[in-house]
Subunit: 142 residues, 4 copies
């Protein structure tokens, strides 16, 4: 996939750097390239739901936001992306010390981009796929 913006890396980095909620939750940018992005989260008790599992909202926030940064690597310098809708399957009870997410553009488009995000829970030396999301984003002009 070909970036339209020579400075695509810094634009996608800003998607993380300037998003207060993502900073507040503790989700950090790990790496990115044309059409993909990876993020990471050190899990603590404040990320739990009522039964000691990582809240679906944490996983959804990570899946959505990382998808947004992946889509942002492919837009022009004067454009940005906004989530239109997403769906997420919580495949397993999510537990562990760390979550990582990899988002990959499935279909770039002039108006709409579709991205898939996979969320993994890391517990000791094991890694398990805990959620998979499909995110539709719209490209807008500033």
């Amino acid at each position: 996939m070909n970036p339209q913006n020579p400075d695509y890396q810094s634009l996608a980095q800003q998607v993380f750097a300037q998003a207060a909620f993502v900073e507040d939750v503790g989700i950090r940018l790990a790496d990115l390239g044309p059409g993909w992005c990876e993020s990471t989260l050190a899990v603590s008790r404040r990320h739990w739901q009522q039964d000691g599992l990582i809240h679906a909202g944490v996983q959804a926030t990570m899946a959505d936001h990382t998808a947004g940064a992946a889509a942002a690597t492919l837009v022009r310098a004067n454009e940005y992306v906004l989530t239109v809708e997403f769906k997420i399957n919580l495949l397993r009870a999510a537990q562990g010390e760390r979550l990582t997410c990899r988002a990959q553009v499935l279909k770039p488009g002039r108006t709409l981009t579709v991205v898939e995000s996979e969320v993994y829970a890391h517990h000791q030396h094991e890694q398990k796929l805990v959620a998979k999301a499909t995110v539709t984003l719209m490209t807008l002009t500033r």
Copy 2:
């Protein structure tokens, strides 16, 4: 819809009281009854994404969690619910001082319950539907 648990209110209240992430984000239980639940959030800058809008992850967390409490009003005393999947449409750019969410069970079931959640943004004296989610939850025995 008929609660199976005479003490359904306190069970559904615990879904909020014991969920660290929802407490951390600032989402509060507002009201509940058999098959429905309402919640509220005082929006501040920490809930924003990179363009000054309320993050889709905040809306998704609220929609999912309020749906969980709505489903929890219908389970037995020794049961609990877990989100299997959800999908959410972000209908408008979400801005305002307050979000409210109303979740309503669409179809209760022995194994699976389907709930719809509507998220409203309140700005001055206006209220707008900003997101709608459909949440599928599984009933499990403790």
Copy 3:
């Protein structure tokens, strides 16, 4: 909701009249107005899946197409709509002599329109909600 096209009824009728697959399956337009559409299907054995239930594909086709006609009531004379994505919950095993569908625009938009479709199965004198879909459509210019 306000039609942009004085002749919106005939445009939405064409969505049914010119769709070969929908004609082949036997889905008929029942009624329509600004932002909504209803359709009906006389169920026969050819609509079944392997266990004698009405196939999810029949319900999905009906939900998607009726949503398309509902969205088409709100576009301009030189525009048309195309489904971008949809999600459907199959709420109950679908059986009966007739299916009906009501699609209602939840959020009209310049580029994207979100429509909700409910599918009901009719058996003798009973009517049950068997599926609910949320459909996102894009408006395109001819």
Copy 4:
């Protein structure tokens, strides 16, 4: 993925052989193995929607049914699967002489199985991904 049923192939074949709607639409089983299934459809005018494209309902039927057969390869001899919900992104206007679908189980489970289906349109010597679906199925006992 390990089949629980030594005769898993014939059970999954029956998912196609006994589904009247899928036969009527013209979707044929191509191949299958543990946790996956492929199908094919010779496209004709009767599969079109109002603008000469292959109807989303055709693609959805194919994605859902092929997912069902993929899930059926993993159940026990006295079990069967039923679609609980699915979501599908229509990634491109679908045109061509043939559709093929590959469904792959993403997460098998005792109660719920999640399957991903990809639908490809074949035009002359080109093949394009036109739709991707995520299907949640429940395992039931006969």
